[in-house]
């Protein structure tokens, strides 16, 4: 297990989210309201919340323009995360991918890839593996959080949502589950893979997982996986959003 700290996130493969309305009002929310909104909108579907926070860890940022929270926890997995909730209604989030620092998880995904139908991996050129199921889960959580956020603030315009995987050049999609393998090598050729959408509020609130599926498809395509099945994505979403 590599010993990363909170300040290492920006140098490692990470999941980044930004959610904002289209109209800027620096004082849309009070600091107290920001605290309440994040805690009431958190998504808890797999033993961890998106975003993670505890009241004691929330601090006010520069000139009281935002609240922020940082998490550095070593449990079964290493969890590094930081987020900000601005008084404008904008929320930004960054998390190191949980599979990055864990050598045993990386080894498991490598073995799984090696045993798959695809025999032409050049492991020497790979930096590591990103769990494709983890991508589905994280993006689904982010869009579910966004659907709650736009109602809690509330937003008075569509939501500008960006989800991205950064620091992933030469990282491949992988699976920790030996029963679930990918047929081909899907490798990121760019450092940052991003999906950005202006989501009308009614569409986002009515179907956050559908919006998430669009984003997941877009990011997988940027890995070179051109035709990920919507049914497959929906099946994994239903594993945690019962």
């Amino acid at each position: 297990m590599m010993n990363y700290t909170i300040n290492d996130i920006e140098q490692q493969p990470r999941f980044v989210v930004a959610i904002a309305p289209l109209r800027y009002d620096a004082e849309r929310l009070s600091i107290e309201r920001c605290v309440d909104i994040v805690s009431t909108c958190q998504v808890r579907v797999r033993g961890w919340s998106f975003p993670y926070s505890n009241r004691e860890g929330i601090v006010s940022g520069e000139r009281n323009r935002y609240i922020m929270h940082e998490t550095e926890v070593q449990g079964i997995i290493k969890h590094l995360e930081r987020w900000r909730m601005y008084r404008s209604g904008q929320f930004v989030f960054r998390m190191m991918l949980w599979e990055v620092p864990d050598a045993s998880v990386q080894e498991k995904m490598r073995e799984n890839a090696d045993g798959s139908n695809y025999r032409h991996w050049d492991f020497d050129k790979l930096n590591g593996f990103v769990s494709f199921i983890g991508v589905i889960y994280s993006i689904s959580e982010a869009f579910t959080f966004a659907s709650r956020l736009v109602q809690a603030v509330p937003y008075d315009t569509s939501a500008d949502i960006s989800v991205s995987l950064r620091g992933v050049k030469n990282w491949a999609l992988g699976s920790t589950n030996f029963g679930v393998s990918l047929d081909e090598a899907y490798i990121a050729r760019a450092d940052a893979l991003e999906h950005q959408v202006i989501a009308p509020l009614d569409e986002l609130v009515a179907d956050p997982l559908g919006k998430a599926a669009d984003a997941i498809t877009s990011l997988f395509q940027q890995f070179g996986w051109m035709d990920p099945s919507r049914m497959m994505i929906g099946n994994w979403q239903r594993q945690i959003f019962k």
Binding site: A20, R23, Y24, A26, Y86, S88, V92, R94
Partner: protein
Amino acid sequence: MIIGVGERNGQLDLGGILPDHESGYTQDNVMALVNRHARPAVFLALRLIEFEGRRFVGIEVQPFDRTPIICGVATPNEAGNAILRVGDIVARTRDRVATSRVSDANLIAEIIEVAAEKRAQEIITTAQRIGLRLPDNDRTLFENERQAFGDFG
């Protein structure tokens, strides 16, 4: 627009274009004919289309660039009556698939608004090209706000 499709009693007749007529539909011929009357010039693209053994000519009309296209020279029909008069604007109608002279006040207002937006965009682009700094828009304000967080350029 598709040349070679007729209409009889509300039914489309996909008769196709006559072989003798087809050779007249070249990019140069059509642009010359249309732009004899249009001010400013219209941008068109012609495509030959085959469908169920018949041939059609598709004419793709590009949206206007800066100002709405206005009739600058009247277009008489065979009887010598003006189909389009100087100053007319034609557009797709809302109620049926057709193109006709604009007489709907709301549609005229919409065309003027589109033209104003295009001109405004042109002014902004020119201003940025010569180094003028415009007031930040909302998106820029959000970008500035999150810049210190990192990862957002």
